[in-house]
């Protein structure tokens, strides 16, 4: 038997509030990340990702408070990312109850950060998030949500990240993100076959079939999405039912 494929809603948080529009009927406060997280967890989400986009110097404090609030209420694992630049940031989040941290730009600028975090906390704690976009026929790592291209080829960077101690890769295709036209199954398959750590697919989810495809075609370990869940276009119980019909191993919660 193998591990269940994971479904991961992603919440963008700024100053302790979720920022992307959310359209749930039963929520008292759709901007409260903890209530949203609780709702997803109850629906059968297998894991949650919080991306903190707070820009103020108070950010570490707000992230720690958020992580504590989530850990108090939520009974599934969760990852927090955004603005983690050093061991002290990660340590504070671990002690507040985070299961994993996600690093992106900081790792590109200082790849040794991956080694340091893996050594300090174990590889299972370190998710390396990679934003990729096609440029002149190549997959190139981008920073700042896909706006700034780097010198790095995505495939090479992912292999380097694994070697340095990444425990998981969160790969977002910026060409697919927001299109709702499906995940980048070809590239995800290529990456997934090249690494020995779990790969989370991100960018492009628009329909339940897109999730079926990414698991069947790319065989990734998890699929992440934001808006299709936030706007109620895809309900997690419906999604899991269809995945089950396709004999894709998922966690059942009843």
């Amino acid at each position: 038997m193998s591990l269940a494929k994971r479904i991961i809603p992603c919440l963008d948080v700024k100053d302790g509030r979720t920022v992307k529009g959310v359209n749930f009927v039963d929520l008292r406060d759709a901007g409260d990340p903890v209530e949203l997280a609780w709702n997803y967890s109850n629906q059968g989400a297998d894991e949650l990702v919080f991306l903190d986009i707070t820009a103020t110097h108070e950010r570490r404090k707000t992230m720690v408070e958020l992580v504590k609030a989530v850990a108090r209420q939520i009974n599934i694992p969760f990852t927090i990312g955004g603005g983690i630049n050093e061991i002290a940031d990660a340590d504070a989040l671990l002690n507040a109850g985070a299961d994993k941290i996600s690093i992106n730009s900081a790792a590109v600028r200082n790849p040794a950060l991956i080694d340091e975090l893996a050594k300090a906390f174990g590889v299972q704690f370190v998710v390396v998030a990679v934003d990729t976009r096609r440029l002149d026929g190549k997959n190139i790592v981008h920073l700042n949500g896909g706006r700034i291209p780097t010198e790095k080829e995505t495939f090479d960077w992912i292999l380097e990240a694994e070697k340095r101690g990444a425990g998981e890769i969160l790969l977002t295709s910026m060409d697919h993100d927001g299109t709702k036209g499906g995940f980048d199954n070809l590239f995800l398959k290529q990456v997934n076959e090249a690494v020995h750590i779990p790969v989370i697919a991100s960018g492009g989810a628009g329909s339940i079939q897109d999730f079926v495809d990414v698991f069947e075609k790319a065989n990734v370990d998890a699929a992440l999405a934001a808006s299709v869940f936030h706007y109620g276009e895809i309900l997690i119980p419906d999604l899991k039912e269809v995945l089950k019909q396709h004999h894709i191993e998922i966690r059942t919660t009843h």
Binding site: M1, D46, A71, G97, T252
Partner: protein, 196 residues
């Protein structure tokens, strides 16, 4: 009331948060003198098993733990501490269970650490797994596993090989997965333990 044995291995925020949500009372055990005030114990643990055993020895609580007669639950590395030996650090452990902790062999199909939701199959009737359907998913994060043993394995999981997801001997219970992160069924297990 549950005494959580503190010997310096890992943070327990998520565990205490789960107990708080469930309304299960707990306190901390820092030394031998603290044991008497509790009627059951949890031995938590994350990280390196050999290093955890060293810390436990330094805490001076080893003999007291081996002599416990009350219900005791080891979680993750806290489970591995109860075995005879771990390949992680080639370390001798508490030897409450005469079985071994070994490392997974990684492969393209079976990535290590074994991280995520996997199915747990009860091998025996036991109140710890009351109201938990056979084959329920629990959340695992580990690179080392406890070998399957027909005498001591209470529940098993398959991941390249069949191993012990849970072991049981007299008043000692242990789980490899994290009940505090395993959704509803993890909470049921913690509640079951508090009612043993």
């Amino acid at each position: 009331m549950i005494g959580i044995i503190r010997y310096g291995a890992g943070n327990i925020f998520s565990l205490t948060a789960a107990l708080d949500r469930l309304g299960i009372k707990y306190g901390m055990v820092h030394s031998e003198a603290d044991f008497e005030q509790f009627d059951r114990y949890i031995i938590p643990g994350v990280g390196h098993a050999g290093a955890a055993m060293n810390k436990l020895q330094q805490s001076g609580m080893v003999e007291k733990i081996k002599a416990i007669q009350k219900p005791t639950l080891g979680i993750c590395v806290g489970m591995q501490l109860l075995t005879a030996h771990s390949e992680e650090g080639d370390a001798n452990m508490l030897d409450i269970f005469p079985i071994k902790t070994k490392r997974f062999t990684d492969s393209a199909e079976y990535k290590v650490p074994h991280t995520g939701w996997n199915q747990v199959y009860s091998e025996k009737e036991n109140p710890l797994f009351k109201n938990i359907p056979i084959g329920s998913h629990f959340y695992f994060v580990h690179s080392y596993f406890i070998e399957f043993n027909p005498t001591y394995t209470l529940a098993s999981t398959d991941y390249s090989i069949k191993f012990s997801a849970s072991i049981w001997r007299d008043n000692f219970f242990a789980v490899q997965f994290h009940p505090e992160k395993s959704g509803k069924f993890g909470e049921v297990l913690l509640t079951n333990f508090s009612n043993l």
